[in-house]
Amino acid sequence: MGIIRKCELLKKEMITNGIYKFSIKAPEIAKEVKPGQFLEIKVSDTGEPFLRRPISVYNAEKDIVEFIIQVKGKGTELLSKLDIGKEIDIIGPLGFGTFKIQNYKNVAIVGGGIGIYPLYQLTKELKGKSNLNVYLGFRNKELVTCEKEFEEIGLNKLVITTDDGSYKEKGFVTDFMKKDIEEHMVDMIFACGPLAMLKTVRKFAIEKNIPCQISLEERMGCGIGACLGCAVKVITENGFRYGHVCKEGPVFNAQDVDI
């Protein structure tokens, strides 16, 4: 389970307009982290903004942990301005619901926007165990990131889509995934991205009876399961209960949650 750590910012790189890749020195996190887990990052020493920001681990190797952040509001903006050498206050790795890895024969890994980042470590760990079919969707050419990094893992297939067709395939990433799966069945789908995309993936997986793991986002207070802020409907025998993304998730079996 995550503890509070001060991690030195070793490297910060703008990989495309408004998206930054951070490398921090965090040997314990690197050792512990499982695919899908996230960090709760303190963005300010002044108490304003008040809450930490949940950010997924992108990659972990040896002593180094990497994460990638798209600037959205004031918290991510502050992070993007951090100086190299500064210590970042981080709780992590967090989340008991991680991507579960078994010896699947064929898998589809589908990500949209910033949702592709938690899929990188997963894809690396699946390498050698499964045939990897990866589908990454972006709004436009400028927002396409990490294509080379995914490619270099050694994939059976990599499909890049943009909503406006400004780069590679035009259209929704889920349509390409569906089409392929109609032709070649997979035994697991992994997905992370915007809610609309996850809904589509979930519906498809349930219709086709394909096991599917999805990583969810919700607004968080504590990030560790104490405040009950990050609620998600978990389906039960007699209806539903509210589970919590930070603790039971962020990864859930698609069949288990109502999104």
Partner: protein, 303 residues
């Protein structure tokens, strides 16, 4: 140096507790801090029966803190007594159960059970909506507050009764007096202040419940003012909370008249806030040659 306080009969090793709803039943934060160091743990608001809670989004960050509309999700008293209480008892700290209900009968039934449990006190949350009275919070009128406090007092014979007040009232001293008149051993204040945040792009409130409770440093001055005002009117001790982030904030509340304090949302920013506050209070006592923390309670010198 003495940091021990006697809060309405609850002897705490220091005045620092953790606020209801921000600390669950302690399990999660026990991974981050040593619960043995705390004056008391105040549990998540617990009801007679389990409660589902509100749909998401339940949380929204705002300047000076956050809004929440958790909707009092909790597993019910039976579950607490069976699974969480025995675990909490393994720590050397006091256990105060925050109690909620939707009707007076529910509160009474719950407190009848709480009276038999191995706990150190009950904090009655009067900010819960009263389903019999158009979902107005119980603690918004003198009569309502006195009535429910009195009814609960009848069954909660053997435990200290702390009545937690809502700040969403015209005059909190009237309500504090009602709690005292109803037989409370102490009051705690403040609960969250009702707020609303609108997303101007969707033109909808950010919280699914539309409104939510404001907590965090932004409400501290209101809490301090209310604790001071109450201390001038009632003769029972006060647990002060609202926006406390460090020892300086805690001492402000004590000077205003609080015998003990709670750390709430600040746990989220830094899980170690409560422990740092305990150490900071000790440091303050050293710096100011204070032998006994009790000697500063209510010692604000008004202009």
């Amino acid at each position: 140096m003495n940091t021990e306080v006697n809060f309405c009969g609850i002897k705490m090793k220091n005045p620092v507790t953790v606020a209801s709803g921000t600390f669950g039943y302690g399990r999660e934060y026990s991974q981050y801090i040593d619960l043995n160091q705390l004056g008391a743990v105040i549990t998540k608001g617990t009801f007679l029966k389990p409660k589902k809670g509100n749909p998401p989004p339940r949380i929204c960050e705002v300047p000076g803190g956050m809004l929440n509309s958790i909707g009092l999700q909790n597993p019910g008293i039976e579950y607490f007594a069976k699974y969480d209480l025995p675990w909490l008892k393994s720590f050397d700290t006091k256990i105060i159960v925050n109690a909620g209900g939707s009707t007076i009968e529910e509160y009474v039934e719950l407190c009848r059970i709480l009276n038999t449990l191995d706990i150190d006190g009950v904090e009655l949350n009067l900010s819960c909506p009263n389903v019999c009275e158009g979902c107005m919070a119980f603690g918004t009128t003198y009569d309502g507050t006195k009535k429910i406090t009195g009814e609960v007092r009848k069954v909660l014979k053997d435990k200290p009764l702390i009545v937690k007040l809502t700040p969403n009232v015209t005059n909190i001293t009237t309500i504090a007096k009602a709690a005292e008149d109803g037989g409370a051993d102490a009051v705690s204040a403040i609960n969250t202040i009702l707020g609303m945040k609108i997303d101007i792009n969707t033109r909808k409130p950010v919280l699914a419940n539309n409104t939510g409770g404001y907590s965090g440093p932004g409400i501290r001055t209101i809490g301090v003012r209310m604790v001071y005002q109450m201390s001038q009117v009632i003769n029972i001790p006060i647990l002060g909370l609202g926006g406390i982030c460090n020892a300086d904030d805690a001492i402000e509340y004590m000077l205003a008249g609080a015998t003990a304090i709670s750390i709430g949302s600040a746990n989220f920013t830094d899980p170690e806030t409560s422990i740092k506050t305990i150490h900071g209070i000790e440091q303050y006592m050293k710096n100011h040659n204070i032998e006994d923390i009790n000697s500063i309670i209510g010692k604000v010198q008004m202009n």
